[in-house]
Symmetry: C2
Subunit: 123 residues, 2 copies
DNA sequence: ATCATATATTTACAGATGTCTATACGAAGA
DNA sequence: TCTTCGTATAGACATCTGTAAATATATGAT
């Protein structure tokens, strides 16, 4: 065996990197979701009938109205929800395409790398 | 039409809520991923041969070694990567099952709700 | 026009986060 | 054992984030 070298055995350069613009976009989406309040909000909007207004959210979260508005803004700016005004009410719904993108990202990292298992066995 | 009521038209209570423990777990995973540095790290670990040591990461990020170590700790504590020590080197690899869980969460929100479309059409 | 109500914005502040420097730990070699 | 090298931890500091109070905006009703 040739284990005399004091350097690590990492492979050198990855082939299939994500483009920076994708990283940026996904990180913004992930940041928006990485909050118990906002994750529950999105889930509530989706499973609470598809369209939900701020007043409905106020009943489900022990938060002030401005705080709820703030979280909705974060979700909207990340492209996770869309908002529609009807009279004085504003209804929010989940932008499912954003979650399709996120699902694809997670799938990209959710498969055991058979190639590496094989490579290590050979080496 | 009976639009005289000054209340919003939100559906009342959602049926299919995520349990709190799931929310907590997913939020920790999402927080760990919601950083350009850490998202790229995970991607680099996965596509950089499956197993990567800190030294390799240092070459790809313009960050101090302690900072890299810190980010790896966050990823490890969130269950997104696993670490294996071999001599002085520590090799990190992606825990694909965590990303399977995250993918399932995203899938949960990535389908257009046909039921609601239909319901709105009827109403 | 005035008023009430639903939602948004501004401001302020406490707590979390990302980064570095300095230091410590631990394994391998001299 | 002493040194070196890879990695981890501790401390410090600037920035970002979540929240509420106060205020603003805008729509519908009277």
């Amino acid at each position: 065996m040739t284990e005399s070298s004091p350097s690590c055995s990492c492979a050198t350069a990855p082939e299939d990197r994500l483009p920076d613009s994708t990283i940026e976009n996904r990180v913004e989406q992930l940041k928006a979701l990485a909050s118990p309040v906002r994750l529950q909000m999105v889930d509530l909007i989706y499973y609470g009938g598809g369209e939900v207004c701020v007043c409905e959210l106020q009943e489900n979260f022990d938060l002030s109205q401005p705080t709820i508005s703030h979280h909705l803004k974060v979700l909207r700016e990340a492209g996770l929800i869309q908002s529609r005004q009807e009279g004085t009410f504003v209804y929010h719904r989940v932008d499912t395409s954003a979650f399709t993108d996120l699902s694809a990202l997670m799938d990209r990292l959710s498969t055991i790398r058979e190639a590496d298992e094989a490579a290590r066995a050979v080496a």
